[in-house]
Subunit: 239 residues, 2 copies
């Protein structure tokens, strides 16, 4: 019997957390989820091509050419192009949504967190610019193509949560509370990040330094002003 392509891929895919699920009696390879491995491999190839060409210009043939497979195999693992795209986006989200967890975990003071956060933002622009422009491309496409909206909304939400964790930790380190809601903080950072990415792709010198400085200037604004007079140095009181 020919397996129906991607019987469960359209909605509610839950990627196992990087390590494959250990089936009780088959310690080596589960026979049926080699399918999923291939899907992931295909998704990674596709993401490379998508990041290079964008959503509209990345054809299935080009995606397959940049992979180890031929162009027909896509329809063996995915029903159509859109399902592949959505799968890719969800797969990508999984890998990037915890990018700042280290920053949150390791920061020792508010200023330290700000610096680490800024560095990480700059680093991800340098190292993953194609992925980021793909994300902005897809989010824009979702404004036209309704079938993309659900996935995009979910990812946007988890990015907002990601930013919220950073801001909350920042406020905790400063012994105060965030002054603005998570959606606003996310919108703000997303906006300046997008500008920095545009500047970086345009080859504008200083785009990355500007981003770093902007984060330094912006973060303190997100905190509720302490009613105390001590506004200058509230750093270095937590271990």
């Amino acid at each position: 019997m020919v397996r129906m392509a991607s019987n469960d891929a359209r909605e509610g895919v839950s990627f196992p957390p990087m390590t494959q699920v250990a089936a009780p009696k088959s310690p080596r390879r589960t026979p049926a989820d080699k399918h999923d491995e291939r899907r992931k491999a295909l998704a990674e190839s596709a993401l490379r091509t998508l990041g290079e060409l964008g959503y509209a210009r990345a054809s299935l043939r080009e995606i397959a050419n940049n992979s180890e497979f031929s162009h027909g195999v896509v329809h063996y693992y995915f029903n159509d192009k859109l399902e592949l795209i959505v799968y890719c986006v969800r797969y990508y989200k999984q890998t990037c949504v915890h990018r700042y967890d280290g920053v949150v975990a390791e920061a020792t003071s508010p200023d330290d967190l700000v610096l680490r956060f800024g560095d990480k933002l700059v680093e991800t622009i340098v190292e993953e610019a194609p992925m980021h422009r793909l994300w902005y491309d897809l989010r824009s496409q979702s404004m036209f193509e309704e079938s993309l909206r659900e996935a995009v909304t979910q990812i946007d939400q988890s990015l907002e949560d990601m930013i919220a964790r950073v801001v909350n930790r920042y406020a905790a380190l400063a012994s105060t509370e965030p002054a603005i809601a998570a959606p606003v903080a996310y919108g703000m950072f997303d906006g300046v990040f997008q500008q920095a990415l545009l500047g970086y792709l345009n080859g504008r010198d200083g785009a990355l330094d500007d981003l770093r400085n902007q984060v330094v200037g912006l973060m303190p604004m997100l905190l509720a002003q302490r009613s105390d007079i001590t506004t200058s140095h509230m750093a270095g009181e937590l271990p």
Copy 2:
């Protein structure tokens, strides 16, 4: 002689300010710039289709179908599709870059300006959502297609200037100075605006009210605290 299609359209088009230039000796119609009228008419049709379908899916045939012309006429007025797109984007920019000039001119107090600004932002989402999503689409495409970058950068700059005028006026009404530079302010507002647009297109209730409230909460943060020593000043000119 057949006129070469759009001999001067690639760069540096300067749209006459809505009213056609009155040639000294020919008070009625200049014979040669009927060409430009047609180009504008075509651009308006194209913008309608582009706002509906987006950059990638709007074909020249579809653009022509939604206009009074046939599909071949495009290459009579434009060299290729990209030139049409760039022309459209520049044309659109001209009409939207002064959207908040009235807000700047009529505001009587800082709070009044904030309210007017927020209302105007909401209004333009409701009335021109297709144009805005097209702009975000094109800006994302410019991250992949280098031939779009120059036009996009120019438009982004004039949007930044537009925001700078609002913020500067706001600060002046509050008898203080902006606390953040123009690129940051633009990035911030662009980010929250984009989120609001996404929410609006997704049919999320409250997306527009949220935007209004976010503006009210955000604007005061852009001002230097009165007691502070003036530290930074924004680039950008007051009207």
